[in-house]
Structure formats: C-alpha cells, structure tokens
C-alpha cells in the first residue's frame, strides 16, 4: 500500500459503497492505490482485471465510473468531497 509523505487535509470519497478519506488534490487513481482497492475495472474484450498504471493519462487502464459518467480516466480526475466512484465491469453503456 502507498503512504503519503506529508499529512494533508482529506475529503470523503465513496468507492463502490465504501467511504474512504483521500488527501485533497489527489487523483481518483491515487485513491485506488492508497486504499488498496485492487482492480478498478475489467476489460470489455477478455474480462481481465485492470488497475491504474501510467498515472498520466496515456494508458487508459484506469477507466472508472465517476459520478455516473463511465469510462473516465481516474488518473486525470481530482477527488472531490462526496464523489462517487465505481468499478467498471466490461464495456460501458452510453449515458441516456
């Protein structure tokens, strides 16, 4: 599990119904690694487990549903108080 170097104020984020404290300014992908969430999604093609990898918006491994929007790159989204994050299973549907 990752630990941060300096204490920072936190916000409460819900990840698949579990509420966790995440330092202000961290990305959603960092929150996944910080709280040892394991995989953030399964792939549409083979169903393989995926977890954040490049942390800079390139690899598209960290796709998650954030506040109801699917296929968000979790490493490019900064956590906010009350944010709801869900693991994504397979291919996502479109927002109606």
């Amino acid at each position: 599990m990752f630990k941060h170097m300096h204490e920072r104020p936190t916000v409460a984020v819900t990840i698949d119904n579990k509420t966790v404290a995440v330092p202000v300014g961290a990305s959603v992908a960092a929150a996944i690694l910080l709280h040892d969430i394991g995989h953030c999604r399964t792939t549409p093609v083979s169903g393989a487990l995926r977890t954040p990898y490049c942390m800079m918006g390139v690899c598209f491994e960290c796709l998650m549903e954030i506040d109801g929007v699917t296929n968000c790159q979790a490493c490019l989204v900064t956590v906010e108080e009350g944010m709801s994050v869900r693991r994504q299973v397979g291919a996502s549907g479109l927002k109606p």
Partner: protein, 375 residues
C-alpha cells in the same frame, strides 16, 4: 545477393493477400515492404467487406467485388485455421442510410443501374439489395434519428477487423515459408535477363517475377517497369469512440461498431496530396453525420481520430496489369484492400502465377486508360 521466384513490392493488405496466394501455390515469394513509415492504408481503413453500390459504370468490377464477398466466409475460416487469429468477420448485412426521399431515389437508381449493366454481359450483377423505409429499418437498427428516411440494405455485406486480417495474412504467408522483409524500401527496379533486380539501399534482390503492390508508390515504381499507373492519394478521416456495449450490430456505409466495442465513424474524401493529418472541419462533418444517424452517439466519448490515404485509381476501379515490355512484371492497385483480399489471394494470385482464371482480369488492365505505355 538474395534471389526469389517472385518479389511482391508492398506489404499492405493488397501485397500481403497476393503474396499469400502465391506462396500457397508453392511459389518462393518475398515481400519487400517499406516499413512503418509507409503511407499504409491497411492500418487506417474502415474494414467494411462491402459490394452494394460499387461498380456503377464498370459491371465487371461489381461482379469481381461480389466474387470476393462470396469467397470471404471461407477465406476468414482458412486464415483462422492457419493462424488461430480471428479476423472478426461478420456477414449480417449492411445499410446505406438516406436522409431524404431524394437520397432514397438516387440510391435506388444507382443500385438498379449496377444490376442493369450486368444483364447484357450475362455476369453476376454483384449487387443484391432492397430499399427499406421506416419502420422496417427500425426493426433492423433501433435508435435511428428523426432525419433518417430509409436505407438500402444488402444482406451479403459485412465488416471485419482489418488489423487482424493484415496480421493473419502475414502469419499465414510466413507459415508457408514466405520471406517478409520489413524496412526494404525499393528504390530502383532494373530488368535482369527475363527477371528483375530490385535495389533496396545498397542491397540488390533478384527475382524472375515482380508484383508492384505499393499503393500510391506504384505511381513512381510503375514507370521503372514500363507502366504508367494513374493512382493518387485520397484522404479519409475517421473517428473512434470509447468501447461501449453493443449499440447496433450491422454496419452502415459510414459507421460500424467493432467486435471490441468501439464505434468507428467515417469518412471524408479529400484530395490533399500526401497529408495524412486530420482537420477540425473534417472531423466535425464525420461526427455530425454520426449523431444525425444515431442521436445517442452525442454522449459517446471520442478517443482517437486519424487520417489515412486511399490509393485511388483515376477511375476508382482496380488495376491489374501486366507489363508489355517486361511480361514478368505486374501492377496491382485498388482502394478496397479489405473487401478484395479474398479474391486477390485466390483468383488474382492464380492469374499472376500463370493459371487460367475465371472470371478473368483482362477488364482491369491499364489499357482502359488513355495513356501511353512508358517507352
């Protein structure tokens, strides 16, 4: 100095299909391929396996395309058994969407003309279609926008994964002992006895037969073996969305959902020389057409867009020609490398190998262009 019976110049979908077909006949073949810097239509195209609407004014081209569409199921199965690669071929029909009664009438007339032109020649007309109005079309494709009036439907058309097709052809070719030579840009071709010497960098490759399948590059390679090839680049821009749950299961002429979930939206036709780039104006047009067809796509996120160059013959139809001056040199050009891959591997390769082939390829010769053969 390396030697082969046949060297195919160009390792895109066209060269790869022909080389595979030749290797399957026991011929010792090498592919001299330019490499990743090539203007490679094979990695940018739209992956339709499609006949309906093609060949107006050239019934034998419609018929030839139909032959390939008919060969495709066995071809896909053969590549799968050669390599274990699934080329994602799906033959569940395809539509061309019309947004007005006028467009419906024009499309119907276009398809009826293709059928009529084939009749006096007593050949397979290629086209097989019905015009669908709503709500018949809605049963086939739910979620269409209010602007859609109807579509032409062809039950024999479909689509595939052209990157996998390219990969499966390469692997099949190599399994047969074919020699694939990447980063081998041919810079000169010289007659050598009844065969040829191909210059690649400082190296020379000799062969008794050569097939130019270099796409756009055929326009400057052709004259080296006595053939002026009227082909030029026509750019198409394509947009790709995020991977999504299945939204529609048959392609339109401008839109398809891949087996892996992305929606591909095409395309533009632009004469901009060798510029492979994208433009905001072009992509906007592509996206607007997509949303007009399926309004739900407005909420899809786009992850990629690219431009690619079609190697387009002057009259848009295939060129298969043998040099008069050097009878062991052939030129092959077309802009439908996916659809025609099956017939290229089968009939075209047989013709190049010197076998009698039906249907014949004579109508596709360079003779139809009013140009002087290179002296």
């Amino acid at each position: 100095m390396r030697g082969y019976d046949t060297v195919v110049v160009g390792g895109g979908l066209v060269g790869m299909a022909v080389a595979y077909g030749l290797a399957r006949r026991g011929i010792c073949v090498a592919i001299a391929d330019e490499g990743d810097v090539a203007y490679r239509a094979a990695r940018g195209n739209f992956s339709l396996v499609w006949v309906h609407g093609k060949g107006g004014g050239f019934p034998r081209y419609a018929s030839w395309t139909r032959t390939s569409v008919d060969l495709w199921p066995a071809f896909a199965a053969e590549l799968n058994s050669n390599t274990d690669i699934n080329v994602g071929y799906s033959k569940r029909g395809a539509v061309h969407i019309c947004f007005s009664d006028d467009e419906m009438a024009i499309q119907r007339a276009r398809l009826e003309l293709v059928a009529a032109e084939a009749e006096p020649l007593n050949i397979n007309p290629g086209v097989e279609f019905e015009m669908l109005e709503r709500p018949a079309l809605d049963k086939l494709m739910p979620g269409l926008g209010p602007d859609v009036v109807g579509a032409s439907f062809s039950a024999i058309d479909g689509h595939c994964n052209s990157l996998m097709l390219h990969e499966a052809l390469l692997k099949s070719f190599r399994n047969l002992g074919g020699d694939y030579l990447p980063n081998h840009r041919v810079i000169d071709i010289k007659p050598r006895g009844r065969g040829f010497s191909l210059k690649v960098g400082l190296e020379e490759i000799i062969c008794s037969r050569t097939v130019l399948a270099g796409g756009i590059a055929n326009s400057w390679l052709g004259p080296m073996i006595g053939m002026d090839v009227p082909v030029k680049a026509l750019r198409g821009q394509i947009i790709v969305t995020e991977r999504l749950k299945p939204l529609f299961n048959i392609p339109t002429s401008l839109m398809r959902q891949t087996d892996e979930g992305t929606v591909m939206l095409g395309d533009t036709r632009e004469d901009v020389g060798l510029d492979e780039g994208t433009t905001l104006q072009g992509l906007r047009k592509v996206a607007a057409n997509g949303v007009r067809t399926f309004p739900f796509l407005a909420n899809a996120r786009l992850v990629r867009a690219w431009g690619a160059l079609r190697p387009m013959p002057e009259d848009t139809f295939s060129i298969y020609s043998r040099s008069v001056e050097h009878p062991n040199a052939f030129v092959v050009n077309c802009h439908s490398g996916v659809t025609l891959a099956a017939v290229h591997a089968e009939h075209l390769a047989a013709w190049i190998a010197g076998e009698d082939v039906t249907p014949g390829v004579t109508p596709f010769s360079l003779d139809r262009f009013d140009v002087q053969t290179h002296a």
